[in-house]
Symmetry: C2
DNA sequence: AACTGATCTAGAACAATTCTAAAAACCTTG
DNA sequence: CAAGGTTTTTAGAATTGTTCTAGATCAGTT
């Protein structure tokens, strides 16, 4: 954020083997410079445009997926038909407010999942998603 | 399945306040007469058509949602852009094979989730979904 | 049988996402 | 620093899964 605001982001992209293009840098800053967030592709695209960054929606989708594959983001699926991307890649869980569509992080240490069953057919566990759906009382 | 194959299903629908129409009965039998299953709307519609039951896709969607609201089904969201409906409404969890898109039930007693955090703002917990994403080794 | 509200339907509409092929940007190398 | 080859971006079309709509049909009375 100081003199050379991009160096940190550039390094972060380089580390995972992604070329630091103008679009990826801009999106990375929107995503990672503001603490943990949950965004949809449309949301992020809207932010970018508002901020004066010219980037197409297709690129936002591409970038979000590349970031996810590189482990910079985590995709959270809560509603059929909408994908959230979570900038918090630490092990944690989620509350999902069904009414508002809002996601809230739950730190991993606030939940204990004991004795996971072994995956079938010698499959490898990729991710454990615990989503607690809540309805806010009116 | 014997003499009067529909009576059980009719009662089941009546209990939850749904009129036992031809379409609902047919779909209910496809869903509930074969043990636990995970289906998408398109799948179920395909089955119905194949079985010679004339029912529109819109009705399949309506019916699946009505059944879900009535507690006869449970909706499982694993992939953005596709909804599964689970005929197993007992408390349980899921493996999700990312490659094949296959869902596998995990009985509740094979996992222990201890100390759920309290929901924010006095919200009420509606459902707890634990999904373990696995990748089958080639 | 007639009536009335619930249900069903085909097809249009919709929203989120992916695809496509061409243009632009990036990073060498000479 | 220009040329060249590759990667990335882009606008717009295409696709997918789902919902909506308005009219037709059905279920359960009276």
């Amino acid at each position: 954020m100081a003199d050379r605001p991009y160096t940190a982001v550039i390094d972060r992209l380089r580390e995972v083997g992604l070329r630091p293009t103008r679009q990826r840098l801009a999106l990375a800053r929107l995503l990672f410079d503001t603490g943990d967030r949950h965004v949809t592709a449309e949301q992020l695209h809207g932010e970018a445009v508002t901020t004066g960054i010219s980037v197409s929606l297709a690129t936002v989708y591409n970038t979000l997926h590349q970031f996810t594959e590189s482990g910079l983001l985590r995709e959270v699926v809560v509603e059929a038909g909408r994908s959230y991307f979570d900038t918090n890649i630490a092990n944690h869980h989620h509350f999902f407010e069904t009414k508002s569509g809002h996601l809230i992080d739950i730190p991993a240490d606030q939940v204990t999942i004991g004795s996971l069953p072994t995956a079938p057919n010698g499959a490898e566990i990729e991710q454990v998603d615990l989503i607690i759906r809540v309805r806010r009382r009116a």
